[in-house]
């Protein structure tokens, strides 16, 4: 019995060392143990269909995954998609854009401290005014802002405060007035040799009165309907009047297309935002053009997109 004692102490000692080493390695190879985990929203996009002179109520839950309490300040701003259509957004003061719905939204509370590992419910009301001129989509963002690294004012020196905010985007559509339409323009085919790819591009111009998230596919088929190429376009996000570029490509190095005449069919889904929100499917636009491909895969002729 006595001979076992040193062995037991030794085992316990090694276990402790392994646990400490594991903790050290976990800290060294992930930054997570030093990370500031910021509060997050249970829903970051709120899409509402409302009739004039009516209102909707809702709730957003903010959760704090951090072991520290965090003070939050809430406020509204306007937003719009930054030109280009990649989904980047520009935020400006509330009520300054033509499609702002910030003044229709009220919420409570506007300031609070969310406890460590706790959550806070924020109620909102959106009341559409009685205005016959309202049509299409209107937008705002409710920001949840928190100061993360506050620099203490010093006599001399230079420092930067760090503020973090997460936003709940409001998309409000006035019932019975929606036009979700787009024009597909500036269709081009481009062949690049290194690497060997065929690029298919077209602009989506939002000709409606509501935001559009567009995406889709293209097919290259012969007269018998045999598919020679198929690929997906990127997603383009636009506000009314904006344009964004759809772009897709086909690896002609691995899958060359023989010389001949083909049809290229573009299938553009204008309702990806609705699908994402689980609110149905939007209109799908199908366009096609006749193309001619040469002996070396070069584009000889591009017909008109119809």
């Amino acid at each position: 019995m006595s001979s076992n004692k040193p062995r037991m102490r030794s085992l316990s000692y090694h276990i402790k060392r392994i646990v400490m080493l594991s903790f050290f390695l976990a800290c060294a190879f992930t930054h997570n143990c030093w990370a500031i985990n910021l509060p997050y929203l249970d829903k970051a996009k709120i899409r509402l269909f409302i009739a004039p002179d009516s209102q909707e109520y809702g709730e957003i839950v903010l959760k704090n995954p951090s072991p520290e309490p965090r003070t939050m300040r809430l406020y509204l701003e306007d937003w719009y998609y930054t030109p280009g259509g990649d989904g980047s957004k520009t935020f400006v003061a509330a009520g300054t854009t033509s499609r702002s719905c910030a003044s229709w939204i009220s919420f409570s509370p506007a300031e609070f401290t969310i406890p460590a590992n706790g959550q806070q419910r924020v109620s909102y009301t959106l009341k559409l005014p009685q205005n016959a001129a309202l049509e299409g989509g209107y937008y705002a963002v409710l920001f949840f802002e928190s100061a993360v690294g506050q620099v203490v004012q010093q006599e001399e020196g230079a420092g930067l405060n760090l503020v973090i905010r997460v936003g709940a985007l409001f998309y409000v559509e006035v019932k019975g007035t929606i036009k979700r339409t787009a024009a597909i323009e500036n269709f081009t085919l481009r062949k690049e040799s290194s690497p060997s790819r065929l690029f298919v591009e077209a602009d989506v111009r939002n000709s409606g009165n509501v935001d559009i998230t567009a995406g889709g596919t293209f097919h290259i088929i012969d007269e018998k309907g045999m598919v020679y190429a198929r690929s997906e376009f990127n997603t383009v996000q636009t506000f009314p009047g904006d344009s964004g570029k759809l772009s897709g490509s086909w690896n002609t190095g691995e899958h060359p297309i023989a010389n001949g005449t083909y049809d290229i069919v573009l299938t553009i889904d204008l309702g990806k935002a609705l699908t994402e929100a689980g609110l149905g499917r939007g209109p799908v636009v199908t366009k096609e053009a006749r193309i001619e491909i040469g002996d070396n895969g070069e584009i000889l002729k591009i017909g008109v997109l119809k």
Binding site: I36, S88, G157, L160, L162, I164, R165
Partner: protein, 197 residues
Amino acid sequence: MNTKFNKILIVVIAAAAILSAASACFALATAGVNVKASVPALAQSLALVINSVDPTTGAFTTATEVNFGTLTFDSVFQIFRASKFFAIDAVVTDNSGAVWTLTHTVSAFQKDATSNIGGNVNVSFVQLLSGVETLLDKKSFTNSNNKAISKTLLGNGSLRIYYGVATGLGDDDEVTPITVLASAGSYLGTITLTLTP
């Protein structure tokens, strides 16, 4: 006692061997098993790490604020230097497939209405992927306002943003060092990082 214990041990090992063999036989006789797993949706969230970086050694030290402290005057080059620069790592968690955007906005970096060092600080936006940094953009602090970084741009990487007082070497074209023309005092600015879907 030992002999009896050894016998029990042998019986247990033999039983285990028989059961293992039996389970292997059953496996051979089985046509197929459905495998099912569901990955839960995660709420979109942001985690940050602020580091101060030693310009000599390149060593990162966790910090709680972006504070350059009191700058030191380099009498040879007649410029003010900082003893450190800063790196903010921003990691977004989101498995919804949505294209989120991190937007970087800044206020003036100033002492008062006439003294501003926003044009004397470099801001570099870097993709960090498997420990490898790829520069996405480099601007002056002032011109880094409204810089948007999307999930598409970062791919599977995360965002690292460096903030450094100009040194006269390797600065962005828009950035110049702080000279004796800058009036003494405390300069303060604000960085706002915004996460939206």
